[in-house]
Symmetry: D2
Subunit: 256 residues, 4 copies
C-alpha cells in the first residue's frame, strides 16, 4: 500500500516509537527512519499496559500525529486497535491495523477487523500455539478480510534473560502451513536494544517477510519500552548490516 | 448476594454447564446442582472459542435461560462478558460477571466492569503471572468496583497430560498479597472429569474460597467442554467427599 | 521399612534438613521431627548445586550423621545419590535412596539403583512430562527394583512468585497410570516456608501417599535452602493441621 | 584441532548421524559430509534415550567406527559422554567430548570433563536458564579445562509444532556474558528436517560460531532421530545456501 510491499522479494521494515508522545517527536523520528530505509511507520496511540497507572497513550491526538508523519514521509502507518468501539476512529487514520498480543484471542475485536478492507497485523499471543494463532487469523478471514500479516513477538517461557523467548522457528512453520506473510518484532521479543539487531537478522535469515523495530530519539526518557528502543543512528547502522542478510536471501530490505 | 456467601467461613460452590444449550437443559441441571449443594449457578451465553467455526453460545436467549434457572432455584447466576458493547445486556441478567482467561488483559473490558456495582470473577490468563493478574484486578478496582473474585484456572506449560497446569500455589500466594477472595476452576484447569474432584479438594485444602465446576446431564453430547464436565450424580458424590475437606479447614461447603 | 509405611492408609511424613550440616544438628532436628510425628528422616550428604562454589555437602561424614540419627530415633533415613561410583557407599548408610530432579534422566544412575534391593525416591525433573518420568521409573524397574516412589517437586514455568510451579494434578494423573506411590515435596516446589503447609495440605487432599518437608533449627543460617525450611515448632503446628486433612481422606499421617 | 577452527572467522560445521549404526554407515556418511564442507564429524556411541527399551548405541564399537571415519576424512570427531566411568574409553577415541542436554546438571560428569585436556561441547538443558548453563560451564572451567563450547538446542515450552523451542536469543545473550564459542543444533531443537536449514541460517545470522546437524543416508530407517535428519544431498544444498549467510556475516562456513 502507498507503494510499499509486504511479502514477495521485499523484507518490509516497520519503524517508529512504541508510543506516539507528541507531534514533534513523531515527525522527527518518522522522517529519520524514512530516510534510513523504513518502509512503514509504526506508533501507538492506544497502549495496552499491564498497570492502569502507566501511560495509556495519547488517543486520537496520537492518531493525528501519525497521519501527519505519513504526509511528511509518504510512508503508510500502522497502529494498534484495542477496542471494537474505536474501529471507525482508528480506521480513519491508520493504513495498517495492529492487533496486540494480549488481544490475539479477543474474538469480538478480530471479527470487527475482519469486516475492514485494510491490512491487519495479528501479533502472536504470549502463550499462543501456532495453531491457535492461525485460528485467530481465521476469525478475521472468515469475515472477508484476507489481508492478514502474522507477527512473531516472542512467547513466554522460564527464561528471564529476555523479556520473552523469540520463537524463530515459528517463521518457517507458518510458511509451511499458510500463505500469509510473517513479520517479526525483535524489540518486544527481547526487551533489550542490544538484542534487536541479531534477532532481526535471524528472522530475515529464517525467511521473515518483515521486521518491526522500535526507534526513539531518547530511550532514557521514553514513556514506554525505552530499554528496547534503538536511537535513530543505531537504527541506521543496523539497516546497513541487515541489508547483507536480505541480499543473501535474494531479497531487498524496505527502502534501504 | 441473594443470601449466598463468598469468603469467610464458606467455600462457595459454583456449578452448571459450560454453555447454556437451551431452557430445559439449563433448568434441569440448575435444579439438580442446587439440590446437591451448589450455592451459585454458572453457564455461558457468550463463548470465546479458539475456532470461529465452533459453537459460540446462544447469546441473549442463553441469558434468559439463566435468569429462569435463577428464579427456579433462588441461586445467583454467573456468566461471562466478552465485549464492552454487551455490558448492559449481560448486566441485566447476571448476578456475577465473569471475565474469561483470554480477556484478562482486555483492559477496556476491565475498565467497563470496574464501573458496575456487581461482583466480577476475574479468571487468570493462561500465561499471566500472579502480579499481572493483580494488576488486571487493579484496572477494575481503580474504577470503583472492589467486588473482585480471582479465579485460578491453570496456566500453560509443557505438560500435555492435562489441558493446563493448575497452579495450586497461586491460592496461598494471592492470600498473602491481597484481601480478595480466590476460587478455583478445576474443570478448565485439567480438561478431564476424573481430575476435577482431586483438584477441587486440593484447592480447598490450600485455602480456596470457592470452586467452580462444570456439570452436564450428558457430557458426550455437550456443545463445549464435554470431556471435563461431571454428570449431576458424580457432582453429588463429589460434594459429599469435598465436605470433609472443607470441615477439616473449619469451613462450610456451599449449601451442602 | 523399619516399621514405617508408604502407601496404603498412611501418608508418610519425611522430614529433616536440606543438607546434613553436622552431627549435633542432624541429631537435634531428627529427634524433634520424630517426636512430632515424622515417619522418615531426610538429609543430604551429597548436594547437587547450581554453582560449583556453593556448599556441596559433607559426603561420608554426613552419611554417618544420618545413620546416627536413625539409631537415635528408630526411623529410616532417605538421602540422595548423585554418582554411580558412590552407590556402595550410600547404599551402606541409607534406607531409601533419592534420585534428584537434575538426575531424573541420568540413565546410568537409574540403571544402577535398579539393581539395588532398596526403595528409591525418583524426583520429577524440572521440565519432565509425566510420561517421561514414568519412563525413567521404567529404567529402574526394568533392572528388577520395583520399590519406586515418585516425588512431585514442581516444574519450571514462567511464574516467578514460587521457585517452581507445584503440579498438584500430577498426583491423580500418576495414580491413574501407575500403581506406584506418589509423594510431594512442597519445600522445593515453592522455595518459601509460608507456602509449605498449604501445598502439603493440597497434596494430601489430591491423594498423595506422603509429603517431604525441610526442617532446620535456624533457617537464617542454613547452608542450603534456608528460605524454604520450617523451624521444628512450625513443623509441629503444621503436622497438627495436616492430620485433619489426612483424616478427611480416610488416612493416618506418619506417626502423628 | 586437527586444523579445524571454532570461533574467530569460521562457522564450524558439525555433521553426522545421530547414532553410529555401523562401520559402513559411519564411513559413508562421514566421507559425504566431509566432501560437502563439514569441518567436524559427529555420531553417538552412547545414547541417552527416554525409554530403556529404545536403541542405546553401539558403545565401544561405535567409537571405533568414529575413529575410522576420522582417519578416512581427516576431520576431528565429537561424541557424547554419559557416565563418569566411561571417561577414559571415550577420551581415547574422541577429539571433542559432548555433554548432552539431560546431563547439563550432572555435576559429577562436569567435574570429570573439567580435568581433561580436550574441548567439551556443553549442550543446554531442556529447561535451563542461560545463567544456570554458564554455572554448569563453570563446573568444567573451575577444574582447569577452559575449552568449552556452548550448544543451544532448544528449550521446552508449550508449543508442540516443534520438538523444542529454539532460543535464538541465547546466542547474542551468551556473547554478551561470556567469551566462549556458541554453536547451535537445529536438528534437536526442531525435530523436523524441513526446519533445519532456516534455523541454521537464523543461528548464523544471530552470531553463532557453528552449527551441528544430523545427516543420515536413509532417515526412514534411522535407529534414532530419523525425522530430523537430512539426507547427504539435502545437506549439500543447505551448505550452499548457508554460505551466503556466513559471508554476509563476514565469515567462512566450515570447509565449504
Amino acid at each position: 500500500m502507498r507503494g510499499q510491499q509486504i511479502g514477495g522479494g521485499t523484507v518490509a521494515l516497520f519503524a517508529g516509537p512504541c508510543s506516539v508522545e507528541g507531534r514533534e517527536m513523531m515527525l522527527g523520528i518518522g522522517e529519520k527512519v524514512a530516510s534510513f530505509g523504513a518502509s512503514f511507520l509504526r506508533g501507538g496511540a492506544f497502549k495496552p499496559r499491564t498497570s492502569p497507572y502507566a501511560f495509556q497513550g495519547l488517543g486520537e491526538e496520537g492518531l493525528r500525529c501519525l497521519a501527519e508523519a505519513r504526509e511528511a514521509t509518504g510512508l503508510p502507518v500502522a497502529t494498534e486497535l484495542m477496542d471494537p468501539r474505536d474501529i471507525d476512529l482508528v480506521g480513519r487514520y491508520a493504513d495498517v491495523i495492529q492487533i496486540g498480543a494480549r488481544n490475539m484471542q479477543n474474538f469480538r475485536l478480530l471479527t470487527e477487523v475482519g469486516r475492514l478492507d485494510k491490512p491487519v497485523i495479528l501479533k502472536r499471543g504470549m502463550s499462543a500455539t501456532i495453531v491457535e494463532w492461525l485460528m485467530s487469523a481465521e476469525y478475521i478471514a472468515s469475515e472477508g478480510n484476507r489481508q492478514i500479516i502474522l507477527c512473531e513477538r516472542g512467547v513466554r517461557t522460564f527464561e528471564t534473560a529476555t523479556r520473552n523467548t523469540f520463537d524463530v522457528s515459528a517463521i518457517p512453520v507458518l510458511k509451511s502451513l499458510s500463505h500469509l506473510p510473517v513479520i517479526a518484532d525483535p524489540s518486544h521479543a527481547t526487551g533489550k536494544m542490544s538484542l534487536v539487531e541479531p534477532l532481526a537478522a535471524a528472522a530475515i535469515a529464517a525467511g521473515a517477510d518483515g521486521v518491526m523495530v522500535e526507534v526513539h530519539h531518547d530511550p532514557e526518557t521514553a514513556l514506554s519500552d525505552g530499554p528496547q528502543s534503538l536511537r535513530p543512528e543505531a537504527f541506521r547502522e543496523m539497516v546497513g548490516r541487515l541489508k547483507g542478510i536480505a541480499v543473501a536471501m535474494g531479497k531487498k530490505l524496505g527502502n534501504a
